[in-house]
């Protein structure tokens, strides 16, 4: 039945790679480029408008890292989860819980700071692990499970104490005040930690098998399973990473604010997710870069500083600007995926 006639030397009309335009539009790096350009444009606009108010000082730029270090770390966790095709709504609660838990350990229980830090990171990672375990083993939507995590950790904050605990431990305040000079300006410990986290996350995502599996299950989980990838283990690990990052973000937040409070960081998961999406990571998973997330956080941070420099604007404008940006970027993503399908 089939063409058993021998084939004359037919020309090789193999699949040609896609045309230049489609390559560019389909390039997964494009959104990162867009975000980086946006950041640069905003920065230049800020320079021209507030030049006389010292916007051009290198320290203003470095402050973006100092003031948003915790958000950067939280957003890295969110990036892992979103890349894998999931979502983590518990980030803000875990951050709040970590501030309470550590403050309580150090101030009320007299636990030494290093031990308290280790315990807090352990609890955060374990919380993430549990959520991942439930999501995988009981096949429940991540949205639901991490929503439960959100309430659980917020509740635990209140179990520890209903009041905020301010931190007077001398090692904490000296850590918080430490500045590392870079010549042009200086960075805090928190900012440096955040930059290290970005670097490590980039390495893990691009140079380890685990990192590639995160992309694979985000691309198509069913296929990843059929390809023989341990998709369950990967998923659990992703939520563990996110839990760990949230706890670390909580520690940085505590260092920044120097208190524990049951209502710290309410809703911060949404900032982390917004930064990730603005940084070009597809909410459907499988596409994005942690460098994009860095720019996403910087853009959000820059909006905040510009509004501060403006002076008369209410801080609510930050939210409005974030909302507008988010919409714009989701539309860009939509256009890109639509383009890819044709």
């Amino acid at each position: 039945m089939s063409a058993t006639t021998q084939t004359p030397t037919a020309p090789d009309s193999r699949t040609t790679p896609p045309s230049k335009l489609t390559t560019l539009l389909g390039d997964r790096r494009l959104p990162v480029l867009v975000t980086a350009t946006l950041f640069l444009a905003m920065y230049i606009a800020g320079l021209s408008r507030y030049q006389n108010y010292g916007f051009g000082e290198p320290q203003v730029f470095l402050n973006l890292f100092i003031d948003n270090g915790y958000l950067l770390v939280a957003a890295v966790g969110a990036t892992f989860v979103i890349l894998s095709g999931g979502i983590d709504l518990s980030i803000g609660s875990v951050i709040g819980f970590t501030t309470m838990f550590t403050a309580w350990l150090v101030e009320r229980q007299g636990v030494s700071l290093p031990l308290a830090v280790l315990l807090a990171l352990g609890v955060g990672a374990f919380g993430g692990f549990l959520m991942g375990y439930v999501i995988h083993n009981f096949e429940i939507q991540p949205f639901i499970v991490t929503l439960a995590g959100l309430f659980l950790f917020r509740g635990l904050c209140l179990v520890i104490s209903k009041e905020s605990i301010s931190i007077s431990d001398s090692s904490v305040s000296s850590l918080a005040q430490t500045r590392v000079s870079l010549g042009l300006g200086e960075l805090s410990i928190g900012a440096i930690a955040a930059l290290v986290v970005i670097g490590v996350a980039f390495y893990v995502l691009h140079y380890t098998r685990f990192g590639r599996r995160v992309y694979a299950i985000g691309g198509n989980e069913q296929s990843a399973m059929l390809m023989g990838l341990p998709q369950g283990r990967t998923k659990i690990a992703v939520y563990t990473v996110s839990g760990f990052c949230s706890a670390l973000a909580g520690l940085l937040f505590m260092l920044y604010i120097q208190s524990g409070d049951p209502l710290h960081a309410v809703g911060m998961e949404l900032d982390a997710i917004a930064a990730t999406v603005i940084g070009g990571t597809l909410l459907t998973g499988g596409s994005g870069y942690v460098i994009g997330t860095l720019f996403g956080v910087l853009v959000l941070g820059l909006i905040k500083s510009i509004i501060q420099f403006e002076g008369t604007l209410s801080s609510w404008w930050t939210k409005i600007a974030t909302g507008v940006l988010l919409c714009a970027f989701i539309l860009i993503q939509r256009a890109m995926t639509a383009r890819k399908q044709t």
């Binding site: 039945m1 089939s2 063409a3 058993t4 006639t5 084939t7 004359p8 030397t9 037919a10 020309p11 090789d12 009309s13 193999r14 699949t15 040609t16 790679p17 896609p18 045309s19 335009l21 489609t22 389909g26 997964r28 691009h206 140079y207 380890t208 098998r209 590639r212 599996r213 992309y215 694979a216 985000g218 691309g219 198509n220 069913q222 296929s223 990843a224 399973m225 059929l226 390809m227 023989g228 990838l229 341990p230 499988g286 596409s287 890819k340 399908q341 044709t342």
Partner: protein
């Protein structure tokens, strides 16, 4: 050459899904160094057998013995680790990753835990090259058409175990319809590869609905029917007619009928006229005329632009140049909706990505296009809807014949039939069929071809795309020949047109 002890033995395999007994007590054995065909109609249970073996589904009864040891895998990963590598039906890879990664993921070359990208790309390029495939391994998989993806899946499966030891990891290679979108050349290349592995002592389980391929490459076969074992035979002991009888359980006369079937000689006036229609990077500008009741077949090699042409006519891709008129009225062609409004329907080759909604029922999938054409505010009356659905389930012999079944749970071939029903039900003026018989068993294939003939007799025009030249020749009044993304010739079908004549036209690429 079969050794006394099989490498793999499955006995009394039972698998039940809610409401369906997919396998009831099937025995199967596989010897080292043999190529063994698993045969059966659509829905006979071939893929289920493979999925039970490789740990995708759990076993409801029976035993599996690998190398004399009783095994039961909980995941494809475990099966892989035990030396069973599988290409599942439908491409199962990650479209967002590069070709190289899709081949290597899970066992990337690393040094101190760091992935060696350069080495991986180089090795991937070599592997791909060995299969005669000339593609950029750093491009994302989604940039390539289905056939290339299928080849990449094959490359992945045969190279597993290569990384650390020289391929000795693979004991059993399972290929579930790996050739369904491949060209003759690729099939030959694949067969060469399979023979090489066979000589190395690998046992290969092969599924295909192309009987010629089975007779060309396989040593032994096991035939299933409705989830039960019909028998195990040496390929040399059973001829095609005998095999078909075993598969469908009765004599086959449908094919014979079709061969004698005369195409309607007279076709009506022009239905669709495309002038200078083209798209850069897709297909060069072409003219095409399709008359009422005419079947136009498209012939050409893989990547010659068959699908691209169809997509332009349907408005799935926007043309850069040219215009289309249907019934003498110009159609804007900005989106599929314009084409649908003008009476054009398009049955895509990529049922997984662009066609079916796996979580909806058969009924919902079938009426989707009709409902969309009517507009969502005007639901089809339930009685009329059920009647229509029942009619097409029967006409296409969709199994199980249950409109409430979820489409994702149907066998591959039956899913294809559902997609076909969806477009037939809209009663289009022009029906574009892109590889409509991919993955469809021999009986159903004949049914679908008969259907095309009778649709044409009723005055519907059809644009028919198929990799098999015989299939195109059997059905078409006119054949458009494509090469290098250009429509190079238009032949009127007749006794002098043969597959080799078409291949010559493709090779010379001249206008006639």
């Amino acid at each position: 050459m079969a050794e006394p002890r099989p490498v793999l033995e499955m006995t009394g395999i039972v698998k039940e899904f809610p409401g369906v007994r997919a396998l009831s007590g099937v025995d199967f054995r596989l010897f080292p160094g043999e190529i063994h065909a698993l045969m059966g109609e659509n829905g006979a249970g071939k893929s289920t057998m493979i999925k039970v073996l490789t740990g995708v589904y759990s076993l409801d009864g029976g035993t599996i013995t690998l190398d004399g040891k009783s095994v039961r895998f909980a995941s494809p990963l475990q099966a892989q680790q035990a030396g069973i590598n599988t290409v599942y039906q439908e491409v199962n890879l990650c479209p967002n990753l590069s070709v190289a990664e899709n081949i290597f993921i899970g066992r990337e070359p690393t040094r101190f835990g760091r992935i060696q990208w350069k080495r991986m790309r180089k090795e991937a390029a070599e592997l791909v090259d060995r299969l005669g495939l000339d593609i950029d391994v750093t491009a994302p998989l989604s940039a390539y058409p289905l056939a290339v993806q299928q080849l990449v899946a094959i490359v992945r499966s045969v190279s597993t175990g290569d990384g650390d030891g020289e391929g000795q990891g693979t004991k059993v290679l399972v290929l579930d319809e790996p050739t369904s979108s491949l060209d003759r050349d690729e099939v030959l290349e694949l067969f060469r590869l399979m023979r090489r592995l066979k000589d190395d002592g690998v046992a290969i389980l092969f599924v295909s609905h192309f009987l010629d391929q089975i007779y060309e490459i396989c040593d032994r076969m096991t035939v299933l029917r409705n989830g039960t074992l019909v028998g195990e035979h040496m390929v040399s002991d059973l001829d095609q007619v005998g095999l078909i009888q075993l598969m469908i359980g009765k004599e086959l006369d449908k094919l014979e009928e079709l061969h004698e079937h005369q195409l309607r000689a007279d076709v009506g006036e022009t239905l669709l006229h495309a002038e200078g229609l083209g798209r850069t990077g897709g297909i060069a500008p072409f003219d095409l005329e399709i008359k009422k009741g005419e079947v136009v077949g498209l012939a050409g090699l893989l990547g010659s632009g068959r699908t691209e042409l169809a997509r332009l006519l349907f408005g799935a891709d926007q043309p850069d140049s040219g215009k289309v008129t249907v019934d003498d009225k110009q159609v804007p062609m900005n989106a599929p909706n314009d084409a649908i409004g003008a009476g054009v329907a398009f049955c895509s080759e990529n049922r997984k990505a662009e066609g079916l909604v796996p979580d909806l029922t058969v009924r919902e999938n079938i009426i989707l296009a009709l409902q969309a054409a009517r507009g969502w505010t005007r639901p089809i009356p339930a009685a009329q809807r059920d009647e229509l659905v029942a009619k097409y389930i029967k006409a296409l012999d969709i199994r199980p014949a249950n409109p409430e079944a979820r489409v994702g749970q149907l066998s591959g071939g039956n899913q294809q039939k559902v997609l076909l029903a969806r477009w037939l039900i809209t009663q289009p003026k022009l029906l574009i069929l892109d590889e409509p018989t991919r993955g469809i068993d021999i009986g159903a294939k004949a049914e679908i071809q008969k259907l095309v003939v009778s649709l044409s007799e009723d005055g519907m025009s059809v644009l028919y795309i198929a990799a098999e030249l015989e299939e195109v020749l059997r059905l078409s009044h006119t054949i458009g020949v494509l090469r290098d993304r250009k429509l190079v010739a238009r032949l009127t079908n007749g006794p002098e047109i043969t597959p080799s004549r078409i291949l010559e036209t493709i090779a010379s690429g001249e206008h006639q």
